[in-house]
């Protein structure tokens, strides 16, 4: 009996706690401790010091140690901030940034106030913990990875790297939408600078430009969203706007969206455009795979773990506004699910292992968006968290391979790396990462993905999304282990990349990795062990191994977070204490809205083929993961004797043109180019001619008329400098005379 009553008590307290946390937003915002400002300030300091190093022409690893040190302290402060927080929320204002007021036509005082202030709640802490933690680790990794570039390039790399962490901290910690926008564009700049790190490579420059412009398209949506937020609420500060949205949640609960002003419902639609740009969702995802032109640590930190999750953060942060909009969350869910599927299909057909990882990032971000869309902000945040660790370790493993084999990334030219000497840590890190990514049971990725998958079936009307995501889960497991079975196991073989011959000029050549998949298969005659090239791969050193080991442990340990508390574990608690919490009532109401109101409780939970999705999903997704891995095993490991070919090749002809289309990324880039870029360029050229011939031509025509009859005045216009002064002084005198006469006449 006591056990039963204990359970009852805990259930009751949980039930009571939920509404409490739903209204947590309304709880007082306290002034936070001053040292919170140091968390963004230290990376900025590191950036400045790296700049000083560049100016002093430092030729050592000093910039790396400065960066690692500053970021490490930043991480320690983040941990301290997290411990001090204890479920509350605080704002630390560093200085007043934008402050302008007026009295409107109704006599009310209005004010646009955006401080350089930092809003700290558990969602902030969740993000900052992995941002600063991973940044520190990856900076350490980069200290070794970038060592071939010691000097100006090294300083430039770490300056941009630190600036990125600063921007990301502003994005996540900013206490208003304009400071978020600063961080938002700031990370875009750093991404631009780092993608274009090998600036002599035209493909890198093009990729950097593409990333920035694609992001700017999203940024416009975000900016308009911020404008509309300000117009609607008269403020851009979270503490005001998140509370201001609360009254409408009740109406949204009842499904009475017509009672909510259209402007309020439009805000999330605009904000999500920004999120789609930054987080590489349809239709703005095409920049992310190209971003792999940057050095691998950058790909790991910016284009996998942190920056690309900014869109998820934005939606989670402004979740109350999404809850009160009729169409916002369904759009987010569908975009996420379709992105996940499309990116996975492309990832299956690529040969460049870094690009496969890039597409898997796009695909996993799709899961996160789908999670937000089906009302599991916890699942989305948990997936962000686990994904950050395992994707970072996957990228860094790929980077170690790339570094060791002189830029080789083609999975047809590498095989059995795991059996080579010194590659054990990398192989284990890769394996754990792959298991996580493919949702292998009891890995962190398994739990976080399941949380999203289950909720798609729970939320009525979202089951198609669930099926899409389940299919994608299978595809993910396949393409992930395709990489592992091709590169890390099987017969030992490698061909060095094209950096082998010019190793001192690492990455500065005019080669594009993007072209690898167009190559014919590697020549079979070269079926040696690479010795013919007189090239010796160098296994990673201590820094890379240390970082990979730590990340692997973290990504394994992340699974434990799931068991730290009910309702999504530790991350669930973090989300519940923040603005991303889903008010318990709203959750039910969303179900009710679809269940025609009266039968709210009967359909409170959707089912998965008649089973409770939460339980069924453990088995279903586990099985699907096994199938995916199994298929990869048969097609890419079993009986494979060469690096270049595998059983999969025999299957390809049966699929018709599909593999070629997928390999060509469904030709979306070409489509955009044809549909938008080319016409726009044509219009620009036309404008340039119109300007020259028509607009200026008319002016010239006007100019010709006085010249024609005023030829007697030619000496004045013939370049005599002082002529004009005299002419004008005369003109002014005449005008004054006229005025004078007029005054006499008037008087």
């Amino acid at each position: 009996m006591t056990i039963v009553s204990d359970i009852m008590a805990s259930v009751l307290s949980a039930a009571l706690a939920a509404p409490e946390s739903a209204h947590a937003v309304a709880s007082a915002v306290e002034p936070g401790p001053w040292w919170v400002s140091l968390i963004p300030a230290l990376p900025m300091l590191a950036c400045i010091l790296c700049g000083v190093c560049a100016a002093m022409r430092v030729k050592s690893k000093l910039p790396a140690w400065i960066t690692v040190g500053c970021l490490g302290v930043s991480f320690a402060l983040t941990v301290a901030m997290f411990q001090q927080l204890a479920g509350g929320r605080s704002v630390t204002v560093a200085w007043e940034w934008i402050n302008i007021g007026w009295t409107d036509t109704h006599g009310r005082e209005q004010r646009l106030l955006a401080n350089f202030g930092f809003y700290v709640d558990s969602l902030t802490c969740l993000w900052m913990l992995f941002v600063t933690g991973l940044a520190t680790l990856i900076a350490l990794y980069a200290s070794e990875y970038m060592s071939h570039d010691v000097g100006a390039g090294y300083c430039r790399f770490f300056a941009a790297f630190s600036l990125f962490v600063f921007s990301m901290a502003c994005l996540v910690m900013g206490d208003n939408l304009i400071l978020l926008y600063l961080g938002w564009e700031g990370v875009g700049l750093c991404s631009y600078l780092l993608i274009g790190y090998f600036y002599k490579k035209p493909s890198a420059v093009a990729a950097a430009k593409k990333a920035f412009i694609m992001n700017r398209i999203g940024d416009l949506g975000l900016a308009l969203g911020v404008f509309l937020t300000f117009v609607q609420f008269g403020s851009v500060e979270y503490k005001v706007i998140l509370e201001a949205a609360q009254p409408w949640i009740a109406a949204a609960q009842a499904g009475h969206f017509s009672e909510i002003p259209a402007t309020v419902q439009l805000i999330p639609i605009l904000l999500m455009i920004g999120a789609f740009g930054k987080s590489a969702q349809l239709p703005l995802y095409v920049w992310l795979p190209d971003a792999m032109e940057g050095p691998t640590p950058v790909s790991a930190l910016i284009h996998a773990a942190t920056m690309v999750t900014a869109g998820v953060y934005l939606i989670a942060r402004t979740y109350p506004m999404f809850l009160v909009s009729e169409y916002a969350l369904p759009i987010v869910a569908w975009v996420g699910a379709l992105t996940a599927l499309v990116a996975a299909t492309i990832g299956m057909a690529q040969f460049d292992i870094k690009r496969i990882m890039a597409y898997s990032t796009v695909s996993q971000l799709g899961y996160m968006f789908a999670g937000l869309g089906v009302l599991t902000s916890t699942g989305a945040a948990f997936h962000v968290f686990t994904h950050a660790f395992f994707k970072a370790s996957l990228f860094l493993s790929c980077g170690a391979v790339m570094h060791g084999f002189a830029g080789q990334l083609d999975l047809r030219k590498l095989s059995g790396v795991g059996k080579m000497k010194g590659w054990l840590v990398v192989t284990i890190a890769m394996l754990v990462g792959c298991l996580n990514l493919s949702g292998f049971p009891f890995t962190a990725g398994f739990f976080s993905k399941d949380m999203i998958l289950a909720e798609t079936f729970v939320t009525p009307g979202m089951a198609p999304i669930g099926w899409i995501l389940l299919l994608t889960a299978g595809l993910t497991a396949y393409y992930t282990f395709r990489v592992f079975f091709r590169v890390f196991v099987g017969p030992k073989y490698f061909e060095p990349g094209d950096e082998a011959h010019a190793h001192d000029d690492h990455g500065h050549g005019d080669h594009g990795h993007g072209d690898h998949h167009d190559h014919a298969h590697a020549p079979e005659t070269d079926h040696g062990h690479g010795k013919a090239h007189e090239f010796h791969p160098h296994a990673p050193g201590w820094a890379i191994n240390l970082v990979l080991g730590t990340l692997t442990l973290c990504s394994i340990a992340a699974a434990g977070l799931y068991f730290m508390g009910d309702h999504g574990g530790w991350v669930g608690k973090m989300v519940h204490d923040s603005s991303a919490a889903i008010p318990a009532v709203a959750h039910d109401a969303a179900h009710a809205a679809d269940g025609h109101g009266e039968a709210a409780h009967a359909v409170a939970h959707g089912t998965f083929l008649g089973m409770d999705p939460h339980k069924a999903m453990y088995y279903v997704s586990g099985v699907i993961g096994f199938i995916g891995i199994g298929v990869a095993f048969f097609l890419h490991y079993l009986g494979r004797t060469t690096a270049a070919t595998a059983n999969a090749d025999k299957l390809l002809p049966m699929l018709g043109p599909i593999p070629r289309l997928a390999q060509g990324k469904w030709f979306v880039d070409e489509f955009y180019d044809l549909l938008i870029v080319k016409p726009l360029h044509l219009i620009s050229i036309v404008f340039a001619y119109v300007d020259k011939l028509l607009v200026d031509g008319l002016v010239n025509l006007f100019g010709w008329i006085p010249r024609a009859f005023g030829s007697s005045l030619r000496p004045l216009q013939g370049g005599n400098l002082h002529g004009y002064a005299v002419q004008m002084a005369g003109g002014v005198a005449v005008l004054l005379l006229i005025v004078y006469l007029a005054s006499i006449a008037g008087l």
Binding site: G186, L220, V699, Y724, M728
Partner: protein, 558 residues
């Protein structure tokens, strides 16, 4: 007194330079501009920032008392900041010309100083005739700088610049004189102190102009915009600008982009908005539409340029479009953003012209076909280039963002669709104006990154004759491969200001708020206040008295 000194000191040094031998010109120019800057710093200190809307540091002398003509100066915070920008760019223009100008130095530096005096005069004057005289007199030094020191097509460019802008501003003068005439002869006994007397005082004529019927204001708007729109330049009267910019020497381009274009926007702020509120309210959508066309059209033309300098010149058309959009939004955020834009554009675009000039001095080309990947050869230059490009593209944290964001937000707020929402200000612009203008943000990224991608990044390309072989590159003249200390010294203050204004714009915004709010109140009193439905549109002659009383009340708030 400071204001008078700020005009007289550069003039005196200009005369000194003209009289002394050419080898002393640089020295006197440096002393003259630095002295002016010092006086400017003193003026900034003496300015009472507690009441930024009042006209301060005022001084006045009778000129032609019979017609009430006075030499009268005085500044509010807006004028003060623009004067500060002028004084900052003064020494920079002198320092950047040391190696570029090798002949006729006396002519060059003395006209440069005259130009500075004239520009200061425009911002400082409180009398429309003095304003107009200075406004027009800026043309002469600029004409000389372009036609004597420009590149190949300089004569045609200078002539077009002169005639085009001169023609427009004569019509502006006619409009201003009409207001003075109206004040002296038509406006009587309606509670305006100066009515019925001849005066050219800006404050007095403001009240007179506000008392005019809406249709007359409309005509005056057209007249004033003839001069100001060309100067800004607003689409479609912008075509003199790319030509003049491309042909002008570096310092000329810097002054042109930095200050001369702002004479037009300043004129709009000082005359068009407060003088003709009823007409402005009525025609704001038209002005905004033209500015948005400028943003998109100018931006897209930038994208297909091959001449770097022309690209930056056309980018001014696009950028100034944002500035005018802010003014046309007729609300506090928009107008404040617009004034900030005037300053910020002067800093970032001025710096871009300096940077292009530095490359031109070394390689004697501005063609992107002949220049590429300069980061490999000139890393310091490349760092500055990317920095100022980002300031220009409106990256948050740098100066350009604050102003661009505020201009767009102002346009967004100014929509009737928002009703009584707290952030809406009412007006005829709104969501779509902000959205379409916002596309300019994307286009700006496209053309500026296109430029950076070609010139700064990518494989190294140098014009023929500048191959990477000989280290002692004789063709550089006295200049090293990368920037010399003087050049860094020229760029650094601009970079620091970009950063400071981007991160700490608070004090500046605070100082701009009161004068802007005065104007916004004037406009609302005339055209938008719900208390007078229909606003000035329905105003008949018999109702004029009440309107004048309203306007006086609004003016009296200051």
């Amino acid at each position: 007194m400071e204001l008078v000194l700020l005009i007289l000191v550069p003039l005196a040094f200009a005369i000194l330079i003209a009289l002394r031998p050419a080898q002393e010109s640089k020295f006197h120019a440096v002393i003259g501009t630095l002295l002016a800057a010092g006086i400017g710093v003193n003026a900034l200190g003496r300015f009472d920032w507690g009441s930024p809307a009042s006209m301060q540091l005022a001084a006045a002398w009778d000129w032609l008392p019979a017609i009430g003509l006075r030499l009268s100066v005085g500044v509010d915070s807006v004028s003060m900041m623009l004067i500060a920008l002028t004084l900052l760019l003064g020494p920079i223009c002198v320092f950047c010309s040391f190696t570029a100008i090798q002949r006729q130095e006396r002519t060059y530096y003395s006209w440069l100083l005259v130009l500075q005096a004239a520009m200061t005069g425009v911002f400082a004057s409180r009398d429309i005739v003095m304003f107009y005289t200075c406004f027009e007199f800026t043309l002469v030094p600029m004409y000389v700088l372009i036609s004597l020191f420009g590149s190949t097509n300089r004569k045609a460019a200078a002539t077009k610049f002169f005639l085009y802008t001169f023609t427009g501003s004569v019509i502006t003068l006619a409009g201003l004189i009409y207001i003075a005439w109206f004040n002296a002869t038509q406006l009587e006994s309606v509670g305006i102190e100066t009515a019925g007397r001849w005066t050219f005082d800006i404050g007095a004529l403001e009240l007179a102009a506000q008392a005019m019927p809406a249709n007359v204001q409309g005509w005056l708007l057209l007249a004033m915009m003839c001069g100001f729109a060309i100067k800004i330049p607003l689409f479609p009267v912008h075509t003199w600008l790319p030509l003049a910019h491309t042909e002008a020497p570096t310092a000329g381009s810097v002054v042109l982009a930095g200050v001369l274009l702002k004479l037009g926007t300043y004129g709009m702020f000082r005359f068009v908005l407060p003088f003709l509120p009823a007409a402005v309210v009525e025609h704001a959508p038209l002005i905004a539409t033209l500015s948005i066309i400028g943003i998109l059209y100018g931006g897209l033309i930038c994208w297909v340029q091959t001449d770097v300098k022309k690209l930056v010149a056309y980018s001014s058309v696009a950028h100034l479009g944002f500035c005018i959009l802010g003014l046309a939004s007729l609300n506090t955020i928009g107008i404040t953003g617009s004034i900030l834009y005037m300053i910020n554009h002067g800093l970032s675009t001025g710096a871009l012209f300096l940077l292009i000039g530095m490359v031109y001095e070394r390689y004697h080309t501005r063609s992107m076909k002949e220049l590429g990947g300069l980061a490999a050869k000139m890393p310091v230059w490349a760092t500055f280039m990317i920095f100022f490009t980002m300031a220009s593209v409106g990256l948050p944290g740098l100066n350009g963002f604050i102003s661009e964001f505020m201009c767009l937000l102002g346009a967004f707020q100014a929509g009737d669709a928002w009703g009584a929402l707290p952030g809406g200000t009412g007006g005829d612009l709104g969501f779509w104006y902000a959205l379409v203008a916002g596309l300019g943000m994307i286009i700006a990224a496209m053309y500026l990154l296109y430029m950076v991608g070609r010139v700064v990044w990518g494989p190294l390309v140098l014009p023929p004759g500048h191959d990477d072989h000989g280290h002692g590159d004789h063709s550089h003249g006295p200049l090293p491969t990368d920037l010399c200390e003087r050049e860094i010294f020229v760029l650094l203050p601009l970079a620091i200001l970009c950063l400071v204004l981007g991160l700490f714009p608070g004090p500046v915004i605070k100082a701009l708020e009161p004068p802007v709010n005065n104007i916004v109140e004037t406009i609302e009193a005339a055209g938008r206040r719900p208390a007078s439905p229909g606003g000035a549109h329905a105003m008949a002659t018999s109702e004029r008295e009440t309107a004048v009383a309203d306007a006086t009340a609004a003016g009296g708030d200051k």
